[in-house]
Subunit: 554 residues, 2 copies
């Protein structure tokens, strides 16, 4: 961990005002800083600083609309500086927290040094992160759907798949390109599936060569109905039926158990051939918080009902990363409306503690639940047991979320977007930002093809775990050339000689690979002579062995 | 080059209709396909296919508005399928052209095989590409400004620089972050400088801690006035004065001669400390065309006045990649308005040739020239010698370009964006799509610092050319630890042991490096045991040598 010289440290302890440092700029963190700013304006002796990876607050409930293109990419975000004019904002990654020294370390960013921030009071609002560990292939091959970048990335990927499908001749490839699998039937997965279904079918109409009947949007869910944990039985059934009616294929009482570049593998053994797998399920605490080793419940930091961290002074937590017991004993749900109420209480309690007054416990019943189902349909569960479904609920859904958008500018932008969208045809364009891919990992299930003889060779593979069979076609039969295991490489020949794959590769077992793209291979081979020579030697030895075998009378 | 099996080949020669294949979807290619579609609808026996990297046409003249945020990222693009309902569209990269076999090869995309397309008539409209070769450090450290992705990338980078500057304490770092250098005083560079100046100063007002007076927007231009090649003397002088008045620093009669991660180096020897260098100058033909070895003039394919490629049958070219002689002998300028007129003539001539009729030569006088200068100012040179400057020219600029936007949907979107922008505060948010960086190259000028002792270590360096001095601070003096040359590595210790740089590194000469980011280093070291062992051995030997030297009585 980099250590700055003392003069590098911001924020003094000499000042009479307490320095409150908020980590995270989601609903919890941003609204806490707003509430603290208001307290400071009313004379509470505190100053606020906030650290966030982006310089904006994302309006998460509308991410599915970004995916579908109903609102523009940046319409759902609000610059944090506009919300927090009196807060010092650090747009950086948090790399470490030292609760003993009361110091938070930020990474170097465009500068070259890490930054240390001292605090008097610390507010943890770092949310949850998508965590695909535990399901083989998920970290490598599933697209998460949690952040704005995720939504844009999924949209770009889906358009790419439609483009490729429109010129693919092999039926097998085309149908894999036109199959979109979403795992998880909670709010996020249901909304993603509904939005994706609407978008894909509307976009496909602009492709004359795409057979609409080959499009499959599949939602995989472990329960018997979608949203059954979130809503009443009747609304969950209505939601399930509505999705099915609009052509979403529902695979219920099923789980995703593995993923590869070509398949989604389900708990009943089915392998769905797809190039687009979106997973909304597992989420886990931010790794920075995990490293602190604090008490937690189901991955969320254990808090007092006052939002103070259990057993720690000067530290508070709220939002998705906090486990806050409610008056009835059950934990506070991880929703935006609860985070916003927690933020107000947190500012009040922090001010109370500074003044030596007692802190109050959190209590909020919630104003209801809303979920969009595509095709201008939604479901709503309101206080007092009132339930709405269909177009009326969809209008309520848009109205409520629109009214919650922070700031007048944001409201106007979203309104203009909706207006444009109601009037204009769908707009399936991608923004390819390009940039190097770098080394990555890949997972294959037993029997899956890594590449086929004759394929374009654009990667070098190194085996991390498992075994690979190298196969060559001889007179219409596949001949096993060699079997490779952990630590061995393959695919180097196509990169060294720039030609199609001279043999195919198939996973013999569950297989984990390190994948180095051709561009990086060329850069490393150009810069590091040992690197190039090592691969040339392997390639030479293999070519010799193959020639010897071919010469042998069979 | 991958070769598909015959059944992989699209487009038959048996058909009575000629298959016209258009490469490129800019103004030249897209409008040629549109004109060809119209001919086909009127009974000319041809069918059209078009290949483009993106599925949209970018309205280039408005890219500076994207940079400034006056229009949304995707407002300036139109889906090619909406423009070309009867054209077969391939969204792929062209990887090769075989004029003898009349076959174009496309890369594999999301599929695994290259695709071969046969043609009867080929239309080359691949434009020009940014080519930074020839100026040391430019390919590695300058941002090009040519495509939509370039504009978005520059915008994101500039916002990042503002964010980092707002929390930077060292004055030197802050002023480098707040210095924005643009090279090239043609239309593109002038518009980029004007738009960037407007945007940076407006955005900076939302950062309370940014000293506005430290912001520098510098335009480097080899001539005595900006736009002097493009416009009359009076307008060029007006443009130069207007930019200066609005705070653009003009460095005239000066060229960019080198770039490094920290500096722009000018022909008079000045080094400007900056983290943002935009170069609009050199452009060259598409590498795919370069490989064909055809006759060219100044990098543009030599064409007949009829747009037929000189000395080749069945091949045509237009737009920025084509050198088309005009009636007066001078070449046709590379502008959108000329490309659009060429497109119409090309379709007419191609139909004429198919019918055995003679082709006509290209002739178009141009309707005038327009350039935006920021602050709602522009310059215009109209036919008949009429010149406009200032707000009236700016209104004309917006009006003309708006009327040229293809399709009603596009016009509406841009109008909504302008409306939103006139009403709403600036919106400096970035879209960080993340993704791996991969290996890259870096260039340093003699005496420049690569990193300092104590910096965060996030890369491994390999020397491609030049020498590096490794320096360690001993009692306030810098001690030379060792000098490294081509083929040697440095910076590995910080990555192996995850700690700040234990020594600094400085370029002893002009220096070219291969840079491997920590993430890729970790992946390679994890996957390839030899890789890790090699670096551990180097690190061990160096640590031993250092310990031995330290123990030596001095």
């Amino acid at each position: 961990m980099p250590v700055s010289a003392p003069d590098d440290v911001r924020g003094g302890r000499g000042s009479a005002r307490s320095r409150v440092l908020v980590l995270g700029g989601g609903f919890g963190g941003a609204y806490a800083a707003m509430a603290l700013e208001r307290r400071a304006a009313r004379g509470v002796p505190l100053e606020v600083a906030l650290v966030n990876r982006e310089n904006y607050l994302v309006f998460q409930p509308m991410l599915a609309e970004v995916l579908a293109g109903d609102v523009g990419m940046l319409d759902t975000v609000t610059p944090l500086r506009q919300l927090l004019p009196r807060t010092e904002l650090f747009v950086r990654e948090v790399s470490g927290i030292d609760l003993e020294r009361r110091v938070v370390t930020l990474d170097a960013g465009l500068g070259s040094r890490a930054l240390e921030l001292r605090y008097d009071q610390l507010v943890l609002a770092l949310g949850a992160v998508t965590d695909f560990r535990g399901v083989p292939g998920l970290p490598e091959h599933a697209l998460p759907f949690k952040t704005l970048a995720d939504a844009v990335r999924i949209r770009n990927h889906v358009i790419d798949a439609l483009e490729q499908a429109s010129v693919a001749r092999e039926r097998e490839l085309r149908s894999a390109l036109l199959t979109f699998v979403i795992a998880g039937g909670g709010f996020s997965g249901t909304e993603a599936a509904a939005a994706l279904g609407d978008f894909v079918r509307a976009a496909a109409r602009t492709y004359s060569s795409l057979p609409a009947e080959e499009i499959r949007v599949v939602l995989v869910h472990s329960g018997g109905h979608v949203l059954e944990r979130e809503l009443t039985g009747a609304l969950a059934r209505y939601s399930t039926a509505t999705l099915a009616e609009h052509g979403i294929e529902l695979l219920l009482r099923t789980r995703l158990v593995a993923a590869s570049p070509r398949h989604a593998v389900l708990s009943d053994g089915t392998r769905i051939a797809t190039r687009t797998l979106i997973s909304t399920v597992p989420s886990s605490p931010n790794p920075v918080l995990e490293r602190l080793g604090l008490a937690h419940v189901g991955g969320r930091l254990r808090c007092e009902p006052t939002l103070a961290l259990a057993g720690r002074e000067r530290v508070w937590a709220l939002g998705d990363c906090a486990h806050v017991p409610m008056p009835g004993g059950e934990p506070c749900p991880a929703t935006a409306q609860h985070a916003i109420r927690q933020a107000r209480l947190l500012a009040a309690n922090l001010a109370a503690v500074l003044a030596g007054a007692p802190a109050r416990p959190f209590s909020y019943a919630g104003r209801g639940k809303l979920g969009a189902l595509g095709h201008r349909r939604a479901v709503a569960e309101l206080p007092g047991g009132v339930c709405l479904a269909g177009v009326s609920a969809w209008l309520l859904w848009r109205g409520v979320y629109w009214s919650k958008l922070p700031g007048r500018a944001r409201k106007t932008r979203v309104l203009l977007s909706w207006l444009g969208d109601a009037m204009l045809p769908p707009h399936p364009v991608q923004l390819k930002l390009g940039g190097g891919r770098g080394a990555s990992h890949a997972h294959y299930e037993p029997g899956e093809t890594v590449f086929e003889q004759g394929d374009d060779g654009d990667c070098l593979y190194m085996i991390v775990a498992g075994e690979v069979e190298v196969l060559r076609r001889v007179d219409d039969a596949l001949e096993l050339v060699r079997t490779l295991g952990p630590g061995e490489y393959f695919g180097e020949l196509a990169l060294l000689e720039r030609r199609p794959r001279s043999a195919g590769a198939r996973a013999r077992s569950s297989l984990d690979l390190l994948v180095l793209p051709a561009g990086d291979f060329a850069a490393l081979a150009g810069g590091l002579s040992e690197f190039r020579e090592a691969f040339e030697a392997i390639a030479h030895a293999r070519t010799q062995a193959d020639a010897a075998r071919a010469a042998r009378p069979s």
